[in-house]
């Protein structure tokens, strides 16, 4: 491997993660224990899965502000179905379907309506949040079946289920992104939309699909979160889109689109999660935690700007 500019850029997020990990291990011995690392990754899974979908959207040069609201709405609907007596497996599948539809609405508005993704998803963010409040009447939905808890709190071979789900989803989406023509179209679309269109890519169809994927990953996050909290919260997922965007950007994906990787996003989500966990263990006040988190994101964006110039 040559140590050229690109290699350094690709390895950047990983080096950042290692650096933060090393600093935290020195400052706080309890950070680097198996139980704590499982703890961190389990906490990270929800943001990581949201950020996977967000990576597709941002790669096309778009943005999806509605994922936090989709998460809340899908969580509420899945919980509502289960308390209404529908089989948990069916409810989960239906929930992912709803996520796909909600994402699809975003995609159609962006692609066919020729609207700016920021505005479309800002609007649907508000609409989906409103629908969540309408559906839940502002109350959390509780009394979920016991077997549903497995998804958020169970373990398989000693590994927490959310971690396994995150890993499986990562592999699946990695294949979609790296090994399919759809994945190549996503990169092409973000690189230069006009060129992509002229070379015969059905840009609209690809655009719709990235938002469908984003909606579906939001739905999966919703299901894990609902299970983890053993209830659906009308206020769930508030401002989660910002953490997801931060994870994508920290992972080295360009906000202008066309450049970035899913692996980077996973590392970005881990950086955020490890910062949250480490600063908690260090007993740093939550106000300073926000300052630190913001600084780290700022650095990543600064590096991103250098990349594109």
């Amino acid at each position: 491997m040559k140590w050229n500019k690109e290699t350094i850029q690709r390895l950047g997020p990983l080096l950042g993660l290692l650096l933060i990990g090393i600093i935290l291990s020195i400052l706080e011995p309890r950070f680097l224990t198996v139980s704590n690392l499982f703890n961190v990754v389990r906490q990270v899974s929800i943001n990581a899965i949201l950020a996977f979908g967000m990576t597709f959207v941002i790669l096309t040069g778009g943005i999806d502000l509605s994922v936090g609201s989709i998460l809340a709405l899908v969580g509420a609907l899945v919980a509502g179905m289960m308390t209404g007596g529908i089989d948990p497996v069916l409810a989960v599948i239906a929930g992912i379907g709803v996520g796909a539809i909600l994402g699809g609405i975003n995609g159609v508005l962006v692609a066919k309506g020729k609207l700016a993704p920021f505005i479309v998803t800002l609007a649907t963010m508000t609409i989906y949040r409103g629908l969540t409040l309408v559906y839940t009447e502002g109350r959390p939905i509780t009394g979920l079946p016991d077997e549903f808890r497995f998804l958020g709190r169970g373990e398989l071979l000693g590994i927490p289920v959310p971690i396994i789900l995150t890993f499986l989803l990562f592999i699946l989406l990695l294949i979609v992104m790296e090994k399919t023509t759809f994945g190549r179209r996503v990169y092409a679309l973000g690189g230069n939309e006009e060129a992509a269109r002229l070379s015969g890519i059905k840009t609209n169809r690809s655009k719709i699909w990235v938002y469908v994927i984003s909606g579906m990953t939001a739905a999966v996050s919703a299901i894990i979160l609902t299970s983890r909290l053993n209830s659906a919260q009308p206020t769930a997922g508030f401002a989660f889109e910002l953490d997801a965007i931060a994870a994508v950007v920290l992972g080295g994906t360009s906000l202008a689109g066309g450049y970035g990787t899913l692996g980077g996003t996973l590392i970005g989500a881990l950086i955020i999660g490890i910062l949250d966990n480490g600063l908690n263990l260090l007993n740093v006040s939550s106000f300073y935690q926000q300052v630190v988190k913001g600084l780290v994101i700022l650095i990543a964006v600064l590096l991103d700007r250098r990349k594109s110039t």
């Binding site: 909290l229 209830s231 919260q233 009308p234 206020t235 401002a239 260090l282 007993n283 300073y288």
Partner: protein, 315 residues
């Protein structure tokens, strides 16, 4: 490699900042003679406090009360702030469990969502006390709170007395989905429901926010020619509504009752612009949490629910 040098420098800066703030919190508790590590190794017991948000003076007071009691009794208090996000709270409590604290005080963001956090502590055999808001599940040694439903009743009865059982009322609700909004509204509407002469003519959420309290009240004033009283689920909204009422010149016709007794609101009551506010005693809640925590750590029995007195502040 030049650009990475920059990154390293800023990261180190960020962490030295973090370390500084850590140093600060050590200083605050230095009087109790603890060392640098959150879980003290010198035998000093550590109490974790997971608080719903520190962006609100009420919870800052609660934390201060707990800190004061912890300092007096010689405990180290580790505070984590969930920033009103139930999933962050679960993570916060899991982090406290990782630190192997001796006791966890939880001020839930939501009673249903906190169950996972309580159970995480239960699994590690760390006793849990809930503060201000309860938990719907898991094993909790005791719950310490002022009764929001009772506070709503208190406000309702005050308005009922002032209006002699006859009048039109506006209810400004807190963030939909929060238990404070639910409980205060519930207590208040119990009173209203019992008095056929009282009628809620408008009921809208203003999200515990002063600016929203103002704009929501402006709209209601446009729509309702006759209003006798406003009950707001917190003082911020009450003070916002008061501004709207003043601007409309209807302050002589409408009485406003808030909740929480913040410094601003108490001043407004003294000036006679705000009719009353229901006072919780957050410092006392925090203090009682740690004091009962001591009993738990000493193996003594405590009551399942420890109510903290509410009082109505009026002129």
């Amino acid at each position: 490699m030049k650009k990475w040098f920059g990154l390293v420098v800023v990261l180190l800066l960020a962490f030295s900042l973090a370390a500084c703030s850590n140093g600060g919190s050590e200083q605050a508790t230095e009087s109790t003679g603890n060392d640098a590590s959150p879980a003290a190794d010198n035998g000093q017991k550590v109490i974790g406090l997971s608080i719903s948000t520190l962006n609100n003076p009420f919870f800052v007071d609660l934390k201060d009360g707990a800190q004061k009691a912890a300092d007096e009794l010689g405990y180290k208090l580790v505070v984590v702030d969930a920033q009103d996000d139930p999933s962050k709270q679960v993570a916060d409590v899991e982090d406290l469990v990782q630190q192997k604290v001796d006791l966890i005080l939880i001020n839930p963001t939501d009673s249903a969502a906190v169950v996972t956090a309580v159970e995480a502590a239960n699994q590690a055999n760390i006793p849990v006390i809930t503060v201000d808001r309860g938990s719907d599940g898991g094993e909790v040694v005791t719950h310490i709170a002022s009764d929001n439903v009772a506070g709503g009743v208190l406000a309702g009865e005050f308005i009922n007395d002032k209006l002699n059982g006859q009048g039109k009322i506006v209810e400004l609700e807190g963030i939909p989905g929060t238990s404070a909004a639910r409980d205060r509204g519930k207590g208040f509407n119990e009173v209203v429901g019992k008095n056929s002469g009282l009628e809620v003519v408008a009921k809208q959420p203003a999200d515990f926010d002063r600016a929203k309290g103002l704009s929501v009240m402006e709209n209601i004033l446009q729509a309702q020619p006759e209003i006798d009283a406003v009950f707001a689920h917190n003082d911020e909204m009450a003070l916002g509504a008061l501004e709207a009422i003043k601007a409309a010149g209807r302050q002589d016709q409408i009485i406003v009752v808030g909740f929480d007794a913040t410094a601003d609101a108490v001043k407004a009551v003294e000036e006679g612009t705000l009719a009353a506010t229901v006072a919780q005693q957050p410092k006392l809640i925090g203090e009682l949490a740690v004091k009962n925590g001591q009993k738990v750590l000493n193996g003594e029995k405590v009551e399942e629910f420890i109510p903290v007195e509410l009082k109505l502040i009026k002129k």
